[in-house]
Protein backbone atom coordinates (compact mmCIF):
# COMPACT_ATOMS: atom_id res chain seq x y z
CA UNK A 1 0.00 0.00 0.00
CA UNK A 2 1.41 3.39 -0.96
CA UNK A 3 0.66 6.74 0.60
CA UNK A 4 1.18 9.96 -1.26
CA UNK A 5 3.17 11.62 1.48
CA UNK A 6 5.07 10.68 4.59
CA UNK A 7 2.56 12.45 6.88
CA UNK A 8 -0.06 9.85 6.04
CA UNK A 9 2.21 6.99 6.91
CA UNK A 10 1.14 5.18 10.07
CA UNK A 11 3.77 5.57 12.79
CA UNK A 12 4.59 1.89 13.08
CA UNK A 13 5.25 1.58 9.33
CA UNK A 14 8.50 2.49 7.60
CA UNK A 15 9.30 5.30 5.20
CA UNK A 16 11.92 4.72 2.54
CA UNK A 17 14.18 7.19 0.77
CA UNK A 18 11.47 8.14 -1.71
CA UNK A 19 9.03 9.01 1.07
CA UNK A 20 7.11 5.90 0.28
CA UNK A 21 5.47 4.11 3.10
CA UNK A 22 5.60 0.37 3.57
CA UNK A 23 4.97 -2.17 6.28
CA UNK A 24 7.87 -4.10 7.78
CA UNK A 25 8.29 -7.52 6.21
CA UNK A 26 5.81 -6.88 3.44
CA UNK A 27 6.90 -9.40 0.82
CA UNK A 28 10.41 -9.28 -0.59
CA UNK A 29 9.93 -5.82 -2.06
CA UNK A 30 9.42 -7.46 -5.45
CA UNK A 31 5.70 -6.91 -4.98
CA UNK A 32 6.24 -3.18 -5.00
CA UNK A 33 8.05 -3.01 -8.35
CA UNK A 34 6.08 -1.12 -10.92
CA UNK A 35 5.95 -0.58 -14.68
CA UNK A 36 9.28 -0.08 -16.46
CA UNK A 37 11.13 -1.24 -13.36
CA UNK A 38 10.35 -4.80 -14.38
CA UNK A 39 12.71 -4.38 -17.33
CA UNK A 40 15.47 -3.14 -15.01
CA UNK A 41 14.71 -5.95 -12.61
CA UNK A 42 15.06 -8.63 -15.26
CA UNK A 43 18.20 -7.18 -16.86
CA UNK A 44 19.92 -6.66 -13.49
CA UNK A 45 18.96 -10.12 -12.30
CA UNK A 46 20.39 -11.77 -15.41
CA UNK A 47 23.61 -9.77 -15.09
CA UNK A 48 23.95 -10.58 -11.40
CA UNK A 49 23.29 -14.29 -11.97
CA UNK A 50 25.82 -14.36 -14.81
CA UNK A 51 28.42 -12.83 -12.49
CA UNK A 52 27.66 -15.11 -9.57
CA UNK A 53 27.25 -18.30 -11.59
CA UNK A 54 31.00 -18.99 -12.00
CA UNK A 55 31.40 -18.94 -8.21
CA UNK A 56 28.48 -21.30 -7.78
CA UNK A 57 30.00 -23.57 -10.39
CA UNK A 58 33.36 -23.47 -8.60
CA UNK A 59 31.81 -24.55 -5.31
CA UNK A 60 29.69 -27.21 -7.01
CA UNK A 61 32.65 -28.76 -8.84
CA UNK A 62 34.86 -28.73 -5.78
CA UNK A 63 32.46 -31.22 -4.20
CA UNK A 64 32.35 -33.48 -7.25
CA UNK A 65 34.77 -36.14 -8.48
CA UNK A 66 38.00 -34.57 -9.84
CA UNK A 67 37.24 -35.30 -13.48
CA UNK A 68 33.83 -33.69 -13.30
CA UNK A 69 35.30 -30.21 -13.75
CA UNK A 70 36.70 -31.02 -17.19
CA UNK A 71 33.67 -32.74 -18.61
CA UNK A 72 32.04 -31.63 -21.82
CA UNK A 73 29.21 -30.85 -21.89
CA UNK A 74 29.71 -29.22 -18.47
CA UNK A 75 28.35 -31.21 -15.58
CA UNK A 76 25.86 -28.96 -13.80
CA UNK A 77 23.85 -31.66 -12.12
CA UNK A 78 23.37 -31.98 -8.41
CA UNK A 79 24.30 -35.13 -6.60
CA UNK A 80 27.32 -37.40 -6.65
CA UNK A 81 28.95 -35.19 -4.06
CA UNK A 82 32.24 -36.29 -2.61
CA UNK A 83 34.91 -34.84 -0.34
CA UNK A 84 37.77 -36.39 -2.35
CA UNK A 85 39.08 -33.03 -3.57
CA UNK A 86 39.16 -31.61 -0.07
CA UNK A 87 40.82 -34.72 1.34
CA UNK A 88 43.56 -34.36 -1.25
CA UNK A 89 43.78 -30.64 -0.46
CA UNK A 90 44.18 -31.27 3.26
CA UNK A 91 46.99 -33.72 2.55
CA UNK A 92 49.02 -30.89 1.02
CA UNK A 93 50.30 -27.60 2.40
CA UNK A 94 46.91 -26.00 2.81
CA UNK A 95 47.00 -25.68 6.62
CA UNK A 96 50.39 -24.01 6.57
CA UNK A 97 49.25 -21.61 3.86
CA UNK A 98 46.02 -20.91 5.71
CA UNK A 99 47.78 -20.11 8.97
CA UNK A 100 50.23 -17.86 7.08
CA UNK A 101 47.34 -16.06 5.43
CA UNK A 102 45.62 -15.66 8.79
CA UNK A 103 48.79 -14.27 10.37
CA UNK A 104 49.21 -11.80 7.52
CA UNK A 105 45.56 -10.74 7.37
CA UNK A 106 45.15 -10.35 11.13
CA UNK A 107 48.39 -8.40 11.43
CA UNK A 108 47.31 -6.15 8.58
CA UNK A 109 43.97 -5.63 10.31
CA UNK A 110 45.47 -4.84 13.73
CA UNK A 111 48.20 -2.66 12.29
CA UNK A 112 45.76 -0.63 10.27
CA UNK A 113 43.31 -0.27 13.14
CA UNK A 114 45.84 0.69 15.82
CA UNK A 115 48.67 2.52 14.07
CA UNK A 116 46.53 4.25 11.45
CA UNK A 117 43.83 5.32 13.89
CA UNK A 118 46.50 6.88 16.11
CA UNK A 119 47.75 8.81 13.09
CA UNK A 120 44.21 9.66 12.08
CA UNK A 121 43.55 11.00 15.58
CA UNK A 122 46.63 13.21 15.45
CA UNK A 123 45.58 14.59 12.07
CA UNK A 124 41.98 15.12 13.16
CA UNK A 125 42.38 16.57 16.65
CA UNK A 126 45.96 17.76 17.23
CA UNK A 127 47.69 20.92 16.11
CA UNK A 128 51.36 20.82 15.21
CA UNK A 129 53.65 22.31 12.60
CA UNK A 130 53.87 20.35 9.36
CA UNK A 131 50.47 18.72 9.77
CA UNK A 132 49.14 19.55 6.34
CA UNK A 133 52.23 18.50 4.47
CA UNK A 134 52.51 15.21 6.38
CA UNK A 135 48.86 14.43 5.71
CA UNK A 136 49.15 15.11 1.99
CA UNK A 137 52.37 13.12 1.80
CA UNK A 138 50.58 10.10 3.28
CA UNK A 139 47.46 10.51 1.17
CA UNK A 140 49.52 10.86 -2.00
CA UNK A 141 50.88 7.35 -1.41
CA UNK A 142 47.41 6.11 -2.27
CA UNK A 143 48.35 6.77 -5.88
CA UNK A 144 51.27 4.37 -5.80
CA UNK A 145 51.12 0.70 -4.96
CA UNK A 146 53.29 -2.36 -4.53
CA UNK A 147 53.35 -2.48 -8.31
CA UNK A 148 55.51 0.62 -8.48
CA UNK A 149 57.74 0.08 -5.46
CA UNK A 150 58.05 -3.72 -5.68
CA UNK A 151 61.62 -3.77 -6.99
CA UNK A 152 63.22 -1.45 -4.40
CA UNK A 153 61.00 -2.82 -1.61
CA UNK A 154 62.12 -6.32 -2.47
CA UNK A 155 65.79 -5.30 -2.42
CA UNK A 156 65.36 -3.40 0.82
CA UNK A 157 63.76 -6.39 2.55
CA UNK A 158 66.46 -8.62 1.09
CA UNK A 159 69.21 -6.30 2.35
CA UNK A 160 67.62 -6.42 5.79
CA UNK A 161 68.13 -10.17 5.58
CA UNK A 162 64.51 -11.06 6.33
CA UNK A 163 63.33 -12.27 2.93
CA UNK A 164 61.16 -15.40 3.19
CA UNK A 165 60.30 -14.73 6.85
CA UNK A 166 57.19 -13.33 8.50
CA UNK A 167 58.96 -9.98 8.83
CA UNK A 168 59.08 -9.70 5.05
CA UNK A 169 55.37 -10.40 4.78
CA UNK A 170 54.32 -8.14 7.65
CA UNK A 171 56.50 -5.02 7.69
CA UNK A 172 55.13 -3.38 4.53
CA UNK A 173 51.46 -4.03 5.31
CA UNK A 174 50.99 -2.71 8.84
CA UNK A 175 49.94 0.74 7.67
CA UNK A 176 47.80 1.93 4.78
CA UNK A 177 47.15 5.50 3.69
CA UNK A 178 43.46 4.73 3.16
CA UNK A 179 43.08 3.72 6.81
CA UNK A 180 44.69 6.97 7.98
CA UNK A 181 42.42 8.92 5.68
CA UNK A 182 39.21 7.15 6.76
CA UNK A 183 39.92 7.41 10.50
CA UNK A 184 40.88 11.06 10.17
CA UNK A 185 37.64 11.82 8.32
CA UNK A 186 35.59 10.14 11.02
CA UNK A 187 37.42 11.52 14.05
CA UNK A 188 37.03 15.06 12.80
CA UNK A 189 33.33 14.73 13.51
CA UNK A 190 33.86 13.85 17.20
CA UNK A 191 32.77 16.90 19.22
CA UNK A 192 35.58 18.89 20.81
CA UNK A 193 33.55 19.09 24.07
CA UNK A 194 34.04 15.40 24.63
CA UNK A 195 37.82 15.79 24.53
CA UNK A 196 37.63 18.96 26.60
CA UNK A 197 35.70 17.12 29.29
CA UNK A 198 38.28 14.34 29.34
CA UNK A 199 41.09 16.88 29.70
CA UNK A 200 39.27 18.62 32.55
CA UNK A 201 39.02 15.31 34.35
CA UNK A 202 42.76 14.97 34.01
CA UNK A 203 42.89 12.21 31.43
CA UNK A 204 46.33 11.60 30.00
CA UNK A 205 46.78 11.87 26.24
CA UNK A 206 46.88 8.12 25.83
CA UNK A 207 43.84 7.54 28.03
CA UNK A 208 41.88 10.15 26.09
CA UNK A 209 42.68 8.27 22.91
CA UNK A 210 42.15 4.79 24.28
CA UNK A 211 39.09 5.33 26.52
CA UNK A 212 37.27 8.04 24.59
CA UNK A 213 38.31 8.22 20.95
CA UNK A 214 38.60 4.49 20.28
CA UNK A 215 35.16 3.49 21.66
CA UNK A 216 33.45 6.38 19.88
CA UNK A 217 35.21 5.52 16.61
CA UNK A 218 34.15 1.87 16.54
CA UNK A 219 32.10 2.23 13.33
CA UNK A 220 35.06 3.44 11.30
CA UNK A 221 37.51 1.10 13.05
CA UNK A 222 35.30 -1.83 12.06
CA UNK A 223 35.44 -0.69 8.44
CA UNK A 224 39.20 -0.20 8.52
CA UNK A 225 39.65 -3.58 10.21
CA UNK A 226 37.52 -5.51 7.73
CA UNK A 227 39.12 -3.84 4.75
CA UNK A 228 42.56 -4.42 6.20
CA UNK A 229 41.80 -8.11 6.66
CA UNK A 230 40.30 -8.64 3.21
CA UNK A 231 42.98 -6.65 1.40
CA UNK A 232 45.75 -8.68 3.01
CA UNK A 233 43.91 -12.00 2.66
CA UNK A 234 43.51 -11.28 -1.07
CA UNK A 235 46.94 -9.81 -1.70
CA UNK A 236 49.01 -11.66 -4.23
CA UNK A 237 51.98 -9.69 -5.54
CA UNK A 238 53.87 -8.93 -2.33
CA UNK A 239 53.55 -12.42 -0.78
CA UNK A 240 54.69 -13.81 -4.14
CA UNK A 241 57.85 -11.70 -4.08
CA UNK A 242 58.57 -11.94 -0.35
CA UNK A 243 58.40 -15.71 0.03
CA UNK A 244 60.31 -18.55 -1.58
CA UNK A 245 59.71 -21.70 0.40
CA UNK A 246 56.44 -23.63 0.38
CA UNK A 247 55.96 -23.23 4.13
CA UNK A 248 56.06 -19.42 3.92
CA UNK A 249 53.49 -19.15 1.12
CA UNK A 250 50.11 -17.57 1.70
CA UNK A 251 46.94 -19.15 0.32
CA UNK A 252 46.87 -16.88 -2.72
CA UNK A 253 50.43 -17.64 -3.74
CA UNK A 254 50.05 -21.32 -2.92
CA UNK A 255 46.88 -21.49 -4.96
CA UNK A 256 48.52 -19.76 -7.90
CA UNK A 257 51.44 -22.19 -7.85
CA UNK A 258 48.98 -25.07 -7.61
CA UNK A 259 47.13 -23.76 -10.64
CA UNK A 260 50.33 -23.33 -12.65
CA UNK A 261 51.64 -26.84 -11.90
CA UNK A 262 48.43 -28.77 -11.80
CA UNK A 263 46.04 -30.24 -14.26
CA UNK A 264 43.89 -31.46 -11.40
CA UNK A 265 41.07 -28.95 -11.61
CA UNK A 266 39.10 -30.61 -8.85
CA UNK A 267 41.93 -30.01 -6.39
CA UNK A 268 42.52 -26.43 -7.52
CA UNK A 269 38.82 -25.62 -7.29
CA UNK A 270 38.61 -27.09 -3.81
CA UNK A 271 41.51 -24.81 -2.85
CA UNK A 272 39.75 -21.84 -4.41
CA UNK A 273 36.53 -22.63 -2.54
CA UNK A 274 38.50 -22.96 0.70
CA UNK A 275 40.20 -19.58 0.14
CA UNK A 276 36.99 -17.85 -0.84
CA UNK A 277 34.98 -19.08 2.15
CA UNK A 278 36.27 -16.58 4.77
CA UNK A 279 35.63 -13.70 2.37
CA UNK A 280 32.04 -14.75 1.83
CA UNK A 281 31.47 -15.24 5.56
CA UNK A 282 32.90 -11.78 6.34
CA UNK A 283 30.91 -10.29 3.50
CA UNK A 284 27.61 -11.73 4.68
CA UNK A 285 28.27 -10.82 8.31
CA UNK A 286 29.49 -7.27 7.75
CA UNK A 287 27.74 -6.19 4.56
CA UNK A 288 26.76 -2.81 5.97
CA UNK A 289 30.37 -1.94 6.70
CA UNK A 290 31.43 -2.83 3.17
CA UNK A 291 28.90 -0.51 1.63
CA UNK A 292 29.84 2.26 4.04
CA UNK A 293 33.57 1.80 3.69
CA UNK A 294 33.49 1.83 -0.09
CA UNK A 295 31.46 5.00 -0.29
CA UNK A 296 32.89 6.92 2.66
CA UNK A 297 35.98 8.08 0.81
CA UNK A 298 34.33 8.66 -2.52
CA UNK A 299 30.95 10.23 -1.94
CA UNK A 300 30.48 13.49 -0.17
CA UNK A 301 27.92 13.83 2.58
Amino acid sequence: MLFSSSEQCPKIWNIDGDNRCYREGEGLVILRIKGYQWVSFIVLSIAALALLFPFYWMVLQSFKPPTSAIQTPPDLSWGGFTLDNFKKLMAGNIWVWTSNSLIVAISGMLGNVILCSMAGYAFAKKEFPGKRILFWAIVSIMMTSTQIIMVPLFMQIRDMGVLNTYWALLLPILVSPLAVFLTKQFMQTIPEDLLEAARMDGCSEWRTYWNIIVPVSMPVLAIVGIFGFITQWNDFLWPLLATESQNMRTLQVGLASMQLQNVDYGLVLAGATWTMAPIVILFVAFQRFFVKGITIGAVKG
Binding site: P74, I148, Q259, V268
Partner: protein, 289 residues
Protein backbone atom coordinates in the same frame (compact mmCIF):
# COMPACT_ATOMS: atom_id res chain seq x y z
CA UNK B 1 59.50 25.43 24.57
CA UNK B 2 55.81 25.69 25.25
CA UNK B 3 55.03 25.29 21.56
CA UNK B 4 57.07 22.14 21.31
CA UNK B 5 55.35 20.68 24.37
CA UNK B 6 51.98 21.48 22.88
CA UNK B 7 52.86 19.87 19.57
CA UNK B 8 54.52 16.83 21.10
CA UNK B 9 51.44 14.60 21.62
CA UNK B 10 50.47 15.02 17.97
CA UNK B 11 53.91 13.92 16.82
CA UNK B 12 53.96 11.00 19.22
CA UNK B 13 50.63 9.69 17.95
CA UNK B 14 51.92 9.99 14.40
CA UNK B 15 55.31 8.47 15.03
CA UNK B 16 54.62 4.72 14.62
CA UNK B 17 52.59 5.08 11.42
CA UNK B 18 54.99 7.64 9.97
CA UNK B 19 57.99 5.42 10.63
CA UNK B 20 56.31 2.58 8.75
CA UNK B 21 55.29 4.83 5.85
CA UNK B 22 58.77 6.31 5.66
CA UNK B 23 60.54 2.96 5.86
CA UNK B 24 58.40 0.90 3.53
CA UNK B 25 56.85 3.39 1.12
CA UNK B 26 58.94 6.55 0.80
CA UNK B 27 62.35 4.97 1.22
CA UNK B 28 61.64 2.39 -1.51
CA UNK B 29 60.55 5.14 -3.87
CA UNK B 30 63.85 6.97 -3.38
CA UNK B 31 65.78 3.75 -3.50
CA UNK B 32 64.04 2.91 -6.77
CA UNK B 33 65.08 6.25 -8.18
CA UNK B 34 68.64 5.54 -7.13
CA UNK B 35 68.55 1.99 -8.53
CA UNK B 36 67.35 3.25 -11.87
CA UNK B 37 70.74 4.95 -12.34
CA UNK B 38 72.73 1.92 -11.25
CA UNK B 39 73.78 -1.42 -12.57
CA UNK B 40 74.70 -4.56 -10.67
CA UNK B 41 78.24 -5.72 -11.44
CA UNK B 42 80.63 -8.10 -9.77
CA UNK B 43 81.91 -5.23 -7.61
CA UNK B 44 78.45 -4.25 -6.40
CA UNK B 45 76.31 -1.42 -7.67
CA UNK B 46 77.83 1.00 -10.09
CA UNK B 47 76.49 4.36 -11.29
CA UNK B 48 75.74 4.26 -14.97
CA UNK B 49 73.96 7.58 -15.46
CA UNK B 50 71.06 7.42 -17.88
CA UNK B 51 72.11 4.20 -19.54
CA UNK B 52 69.18 2.23 -18.07
CA UNK B 53 66.76 4.85 -19.33
CA UNK B 54 68.41 4.87 -22.76
CA UNK B 55 68.07 1.13 -22.88
CA UNK B 56 64.39 1.31 -21.87
CA UNK B 57 63.49 4.01 -24.36
CA UNK B 58 65.34 2.20 -27.15
CA UNK B 59 63.53 -1.04 -26.42
CA UNK B 60 60.64 -1.76 -28.77
CA UNK B 61 59.13 -4.15 -26.19
CA UNK B 62 58.85 -1.26 -23.76
CA UNK B 63 56.86 0.87 -26.21
CA UNK B 64 54.77 -2.11 -27.17
CA UNK B 65 53.93 -2.83 -23.53
CA UNK B 66 53.13 0.84 -22.94
CA UNK B 67 50.71 0.70 -25.86
CA UNK B 68 49.16 -2.55 -24.56
CA UNK B 69 48.78 -0.96 -21.12
CA UNK B 70 47.10 2.10 -22.65
CA UNK B 71 44.67 -0.05 -24.67
CA UNK B 72 43.91 -2.16 -21.60
CA UNK B 73 43.37 0.90 -19.42
CA UNK B 74 41.21 2.91 -21.82
CA UNK B 75 38.91 0.00 -22.67
CA UNK B 76 38.54 -1.32 -19.12
CA UNK B 77 37.90 2.11 -17.65
CA UNK B 78 35.48 3.33 -20.32
CA UNK B 79 33.56 0.08 -20.73
CA UNK B 80 33.54 -0.50 -16.98
CA UNK B 81 32.18 2.93 -16.17
CA UNK B 82 29.56 2.88 -18.92
CA UNK B 83 28.29 -0.47 -17.66
CA UNK B 84 28.43 0.68 -14.04
CA UNK B 85 26.48 3.81 -14.92
CA UNK B 86 23.80 1.82 -16.70
CA UNK B 87 23.56 -0.56 -13.75
CA UNK B 88 23.45 2.32 -11.26
CA UNK B 89 20.68 4.09 -13.19
CA UNK B 90 18.73 0.86 -13.21
CA UNK B 91 19.26 0.17 -9.51
CA UNK B 92 18.53 3.71 -8.32
CA UNK B 93 14.72 3.75 -8.70
CA UNK B 94 14.26 0.62 -6.57
CA UNK B 95 13.48 0.80 -2.90
CA UNK B 96 16.16 0.45 -0.25
CA UNK B 97 15.99 -3.28 0.31
CA UNK B 98 15.92 -4.19 -3.38
CA UNK B 99 18.82 -1.83 -3.98
CA UNK B 100 20.70 -3.67 -1.26
CA UNK B 101 20.12 -7.03 -2.94
CA UNK B 102 21.56 -5.83 -6.26
CA UNK B 103 24.40 -3.90 -4.67
CA UNK B 104 25.52 -7.04 -2.83
CA UNK B 105 25.14 -9.24 -5.91
CA UNK B 106 27.39 -6.96 -7.93
CA UNK B 107 29.82 -6.23 -5.12
CA UNK B 108 30.54 -9.79 -4.00
CA UNK B 109 32.45 -10.81 -7.17
CA UNK B 110 34.68 -7.78 -6.79
CA UNK B 111 35.84 -8.67 -3.27
CA UNK B 112 36.85 -12.14 -4.44
CA UNK B 113 40.63 -12.54 -4.62
CA UNK B 114 41.92 -12.00 -8.12
CA UNK B 115 43.74 -15.33 -7.98
CA UNK B 116 40.45 -17.18 -7.54
CA UNK B 117 38.70 -15.12 -10.18
CA UNK B 118 41.55 -15.90 -12.56
CA UNK B 119 41.39 -19.62 -11.80
CA UNK B 120 37.69 -19.65 -12.56
CA UNK B 121 38.10 -17.66 -15.75
CA UNK B 122 41.00 -19.80 -16.95
CA UNK B 123 38.53 -22.61 -16.73
CA UNK B 124 35.73 -20.67 -18.48
CA UNK B 125 38.19 -19.76 -21.24
CA UNK B 126 39.63 -23.27 -21.62
CA UNK B 127 39.77 -24.12 -25.35
CA UNK B 128 38.37 -27.64 -25.06
CA UNK B 129 36.25 -27.91 -21.91
CA UNK B 130 35.61 -24.24 -21.17
CA UNK B 131 32.06 -23.11 -20.64
CA UNK B 132 32.35 -20.15 -23.02
CA UNK B 133 33.34 -22.24 -26.01
CA UNK B 134 30.60 -24.70 -25.12
CA UNK B 135 28.06 -21.88 -25.23
CA UNK B 136 29.48 -20.60 -28.54
CA UNK B 137 29.24 -24.07 -30.00
CA UNK B 138 25.67 -24.20 -28.79
CA UNK B 139 24.73 -21.19 -30.90
CA UNK B 140 26.79 -22.44 -33.84
CA UNK B 141 29.93 -20.31 -33.55
CA UNK B 142 33.29 -22.05 -33.89
CA UNK B 143 35.38 -22.23 -30.72
CA UNK B 144 37.69 -19.34 -29.86
CA UNK B 145 41.23 -19.58 -28.54
CA UNK B 146 40.47 -17.08 -25.81
CA UNK B 147 43.93 -16.88 -24.30
CA UNK B 148 45.98 -18.55 -27.02
CA UNK B 149 45.36 -16.16 -29.89
CA UNK B 150 47.59 -13.04 -29.82
CA UNK B 151 44.78 -10.98 -31.35
CA UNK B 152 42.21 -12.01 -28.76
CA UNK B 153 44.13 -12.66 -25.51
CA UNK B 154 44.28 -9.04 -24.35
CA UNK B 155 40.56 -8.63 -24.93
CA UNK B 156 39.83 -11.79 -22.98
CA UNK B 157 41.71 -10.31 -20.02
CA UNK B 158 39.85 -7.02 -20.49
CA UNK B 159 36.53 -8.87 -20.60
CA UNK B 160 37.28 -10.63 -17.32
CA UNK B 161 38.49 -7.45 -15.64
CA UNK B 162 35.47 -5.42 -16.71
CA UNK B 163 33.07 -8.19 -15.73
CA UNK B 164 34.31 -8.79 -12.21
CA UNK B 165 35.55 -5.42 -10.98
CA UNK B 166 32.59 -3.07 -11.21
CA UNK B 167 31.25 -3.66 -7.71
CA UNK B 168 32.79 -0.62 -6.06
CA UNK B 169 31.95 1.62 -9.03
CA UNK B 170 28.31 0.58 -8.96
CA UNK B 171 28.08 1.03 -5.20
CA UNK B 172 29.58 4.50 -5.32
CA UNK B 173 27.42 5.58 -8.25
CA UNK B 174 24.20 4.29 -6.66
CA UNK B 175 25.04 6.14 -3.45
CA UNK B 176 25.77 9.34 -5.39
CA UNK B 177 22.51 9.03 -7.32
CA UNK B 178 20.65 8.56 -4.04
CA UNK B 179 22.22 11.77 -2.78
CA UNK B 180 20.76 13.91 -5.55
CA UNK B 181 17.95 15.94 -4.00
CA UNK B 182 14.50 14.80 -5.10
CA UNK B 183 13.46 18.40 -5.81
CA UNK B 184 15.43 18.41 -9.07
CA UNK B 185 13.66 15.30 -10.21
CA UNK B 186 10.24 16.70 -9.36
CA UNK B 187 10.97 20.04 -11.02
CA UNK B 188 12.04 18.23 -14.18
CA UNK B 189 8.92 16.08 -14.15
CA UNK B 190 6.69 19.11 -13.81
CA UNK B 191 8.49 20.65 -16.80
CA UNK B 192 7.59 17.51 -18.72
CA UNK B 193 10.98 15.82 -18.88
CA UNK B 194 10.83 12.14 -19.68
CA UNK B 195 12.89 9.48 -17.97
CA UNK B 196 15.71 9.65 -20.52
CA UNK B 197 16.02 13.44 -20.35
CA UNK B 198 15.97 13.29 -16.60
CA UNK B 199 18.93 10.92 -16.64
CA UNK B 200 21.06 12.63 -19.26
CA UNK B 201 20.30 16.28 -18.54
CA UNK B 202 19.89 16.29 -14.78
CA UNK B 203 21.41 13.30 -13.08
CA UNK B 204 24.47 12.74 -15.24
CA UNK B 205 25.85 16.28 -14.82
CA UNK B 206 25.33 16.02 -11.07
CA UNK B 207 27.40 12.84 -11.02
CA UNK B 208 30.37 14.63 -12.55
CA UNK B 209 32.50 14.84 -9.38
CA UNK B 210 31.91 11.17 -8.62
CA UNK B 211 32.66 10.17 -12.20
CA UNK B 212 35.89 12.17 -12.25
CA UNK B 213 36.97 10.47 -9.05
CA UNK B 214 36.14 7.02 -10.43
CA UNK B 215 37.83 7.66 -13.77
CA UNK B 216 41.07 8.62 -12.08
CA UNK B 217 41.05 5.87 -9.46
CA UNK B 218 40.20 3.25 -12.10
CA UNK B 219 42.81 4.56 -14.51
CA UNK B 220 45.56 4.59 -11.93
CA UNK B 221 44.60 1.06 -10.88
CA UNK B 222 44.34 -0.31 -14.43
CA UNK B 223 47.67 1.17 -15.40
CA UNK B 224 49.39 -1.06 -12.87
CA UNK B 225 47.55 -4.29 -13.69
CA UNK B 226 49.58 -7.37 -12.81
CA UNK B 227 47.87 -10.36 -11.19
CA UNK B 228 45.40 -11.19 -14.02
CA UNK B 229 48.24 -11.09 -16.54
CA UNK B 230 50.44 -13.29 -14.35
CA UNK B 231 47.64 -15.80 -13.83
CA UNK B 232 46.01 -15.92 -17.26
CA UNK B 233 48.69 -15.49 -19.90
CA UNK B 234 52.05 -14.64 -18.29
CA UNK B 235 52.39 -11.89 -20.87
CA UNK B 236 51.87 -14.12 -23.91
CA UNK B 237 51.06 -15.29 -26.46
CA UNK B 238 53.81 -13.56 -28.42
CA UNK B 239 53.98 -10.81 -25.75
CA UNK B 240 50.52 -9.60 -26.75
CA UNK B 241 49.48 -9.15 -23.10
CA UNK B 242 52.73 -7.87 -21.61
CA UNK B 243 51.65 -4.73 -19.81
CA UNK B 244 54.16 -2.36 -18.25
CA UNK B 245 53.46 -3.80 -14.81
CA UNK B 246 54.22 -7.31 -15.99
CA UNK B 247 57.28 -6.14 -17.94
CA UNK B 248 58.77 -4.65 -14.76
CA UNK B 249 58.15 -7.92 -12.94
CA UNK B 250 59.80 -9.89 -15.75
CA UNK B 251 62.85 -7.66 -15.91
CA UNK B 252 63.37 -7.70 -12.16
CA UNK B 253 62.45 -11.21 -11.13
CA UNK B 254 63.02 -13.27 -14.27
CA UNK B 255 66.03 -11.51 -15.82
CA UNK B 256 67.26 -9.98 -12.54
CA UNK B 257 67.97 -6.72 -14.32
CA UNK B 258 67.00 -4.54 -11.38
CA UNK B 259 68.38 -1.34 -12.89
CA UNK B 260 66.24 -1.49 -16.01
CA UNK B 261 63.21 -2.64 -14.00
CA UNK B 262 63.66 0.33 -11.66
CA UNK B 263 63.94 2.75 -14.55
CA UNK B 264 60.67 1.37 -15.92
CA UNK B 265 59.06 1.64 -12.49
CA UNK B 266 60.14 5.28 -12.24
CA UNK B 267 58.57 5.96 -15.64
CA UNK B 268 55.38 4.20 -14.51
CA UNK B 269 55.38 6.30 -11.34
CA UNK B 270 55.73 9.50 -13.39
CA UNK B 271 52.81 8.48 -15.62
CA UNK B 272 50.65 7.64 -12.62
CA UNK B 273 51.62 10.93 -10.96
CA UNK B 274 50.61 12.88 -14.05
CA UNK B 275 47.22 11.19 -13.91
CA UNK B 276 46.99 11.99 -10.19
CA UNK B 277 47.87 15.66 -10.71
CA UNK B 278 45.22 15.79 -13.39
CA UNK B 279 42.83 14.51 -10.74
CA UNK B 280 43.74 17.18 -8.19
CA UNK B 281 43.36 19.84 -10.89
CA UNK B 282 39.97 18.82 -12.15
CA UNK B 283 38.63 17.86 -8.77
CA UNK B 284 40.02 20.69 -6.67
CA UNK B 285 36.66 22.40 -6.41
CA UNK B 286 35.00 19.22 -5.19
CA UNK B 287 37.75 18.22 -2.83
CA UNK B 288 36.96 18.64 0.82
CA UNK B 289 39.40 16.19 2.27
Amino acid sequence: MYRIRKALPGYLFLLPACLMFAGFMFLPIFKGLQLSFQKWTLNGYEWVGFSNYNQVFGDSFFWKSLWITAVFTVITVVAGLVLSLIAAFMIDPFQQRMQGVFKSAFYLPSVAPIVIVSIIWLWLYHPSFGLLNYLLEFVGVSPVLWLGDPKIALFSIILMTVAVSQGANILILVTSLGGIPKDYQEAARIDGANLWQEMIKIKLPMLKPTLTYLIVVNTVGSFQVFAPIYMLTAGGPNRSTTTIGFLIYENAFKKFDFGVASAQAVILLVIVMIIAIFQFRTMSEDLEY
